[in-house]
Amino acid sequence: MTQCTIKLSVFTLISLFFFSLSVGGGQALGAEEGPRVLLLNSNAGVGKYKAVQESFAETLANPLLNVDMGLGEPRIGKLRGFDPDLIYCIGAKAYSYAIRNFPREDIVFSSIINWLRLPVSGKTYGVSNELPVRMPLMMYRYIFPEIKTIGILYSRQYTEEWFEKTRAQAEELGITVIGQQVSKRNGTIAALDELSPKVEALWLIPDPLVMPEKESLYRILETSDARQLPVFSYHDAFALFGAVLIVSVDDPTIGRQAAGIAMDLLSGKSLADRIQFPAGSSITLNMKKIDAYGLEYNKNALSAVNNIIK
């Protein structure tokens, strides 16, 4: 009798175990239905890339295979085995790999500085890493309404066209943009010397001739600081070295936007704009420098500020 009971209990337990497995498996399968997406991250250890990946994965419900290329280039056979319908690439390294190895699949990219330097195919879509130029201009005007003249160091080689467009847009917002061309690798500080007496702030842009190395950045910031010339820029980290106002892209929004593009493509929608501007911005304000330079700022704009350095 006892032996019979034990046998029955063991049988029940085994049955319950297999039943739970089948239910669990069914649920997992249900959650992983639909077109497959391969996510290639150039380096998941980079905070900005990680934030983009997380918001992409939260937004998209499709089966997703995450690959961290920071650990080395993955074997293509393994990835093809996943049979992806769409590839999402975070960063230039991931995109370069995808465009070489997945010529037939739709590719969506994000988080690439100056994507125009990279090859694109008829199946390339993405979110650029540069905000529409009106966005930083508008934030400069919002936070520092008294500042009417802003200087830009640029080069004919890389940013002249951008500079001309920016100047025209700034005029529409009541801001005068004055440019100073940098024509040789070591000419940045001389150009800054020329420019700084004419302007109330310096807008530092990513131009490889203006800032060929980190040292150039430090020297620009030091020189501007000595003259109490506020620096506006595009990367959060610059605030730690003395920039006053940073208007940069919001990484979680980029991930959500890329997921939206992926969903549209996977559902067969055609997209009017293959490459979109980022839809979200992040604002950092350096109050230490504002106090040190005695700058007036619009307190009503504080609700738009994401990070305050004190």
Binding site: M138, A279, S281
Partner: protein, 288 residues
């Protein structure tokens, strides 16, 4: 006993330690009489806290917000500010006790008021107004609400709140439920998304639209308002119905924020510039 005795031997032979021990002992006695009971009370029950979550603004400047509020509140007493990025954690925290105030949207308040036994204390004001309207806007060449399904609707509110506002404005539950929402950090981002065609439409506030008109009249002219919501109250300061007596000091500090530069800065970070006590006549607005 023996062990204790042996432990004491080195102390008895170390002349310099004896006055030091006496001094420490006296210090401890003084502390226990003067300071420790007060410290113990605060650390045992924790400081009185303002819990904050806003469904109407995708606020992600938590660190700066906490720093600014704590700077102001700590001058007034054992008070602190705790922002939440997640609605479930926020509501879970409310359920844990009654030693807190809440700062939340009027929409959110009206949804949880009864369930969590809350009462409104004050409402935020901006430029003397305690109400705001939501607007649905679209960019150039848009086909109005009919074309909304073909692209995302940008909004700085959370998805749930955005759908609720859309439902009211469109009077079409199905469309409000099916449209794709693109959550962006700020109202100005939602407006830029429409202006630069990253989104088909945007849900934003009348105040943000007015701000755009001042900042970028050219972009403002390209934006068209499709619908607007009923007025709703700005942020609500609420208290648990059974917790108000012990929270009076904290409520007073919050009320006095506009009179202090640090307090005003903290309020400005929430896009407010003052408070108004809730009148019974405002209550229908909070019944959702």
């Amino acid at each position: 006993m023996t062990t204790n005795f042996h432990r004491m031997v080195p102390i008895r032979h170390t002349g310099i330690l004896r006055p030091l021990c006496l001094l420490t002992l006296m210090g401890l006695v003084c502390l226990s009489v003067l300071g420790i009971p007060a410290v113990r009370t605060v650390s045992a029950e924790g400081p009185l806290t303002i819990f904050f979550y806003s469904s109407e603004a995708n606020i992600n400047n938590y660190k700066a917000l906490k720093m600014e509020f704590d700077n102001y509140l700590s001058k007034a007493g054992p008070y602190e500010f705790q922002p939440f990025s997640d609605i479930a954690t926020f509501e879970g925290q409310i359920r844990k006790g009654s030693g807190h105030l809440l700062l939340l949207s009027s929409w959110h308040f009206s949804r949880i008021q009864q369930d969590l036994s809350l009462k409104p204390v004050m409402v935020g004001i901006r430029d003397g107004e305690m109400f705001q309207k939501r607007v649905l806007v679209t960019g150039p060449g848009s086909g109005g609400t009919d074309s909304m399904g073909s692209g995302p609707v940008a909004s700085a509110s959370n998805v749930q709140h955005t759908r609720s506002v859309l439902k009211e404005m469109l009077e079409n539950d199905q469309k409000a439920a099916s449209v794709r929402i693109l959550t962006v950090p700020k109202d100005v981002d939602a407006l830029m998304s429409v202006g630069f065609e990253m989104a088909k439409a945007a849900v934003t506030t009348e105040n943000a639209l007015k701000n755009l008109e001042n900042l970028d009249p050219v972009l403002f002219k390209r934006i068209r308002t499709l619908a607007e919501s009923r007025p709703s109250l700005l942020l609500i300061l609420a208290a648990p119905t059974d917790g108000a007596a012990e929270l009076e000091g904290l409520i007073r500090s919050v009320r006095e924020m506009p009179d202090d530069p640090t307090g005003l800065n903290a309020l400005k970070m929430l896009d407010l510039d003052g408070w108004k006590t809730i009148d019974p006549s405002d209550t229908p607005e909070l019944e959702g």
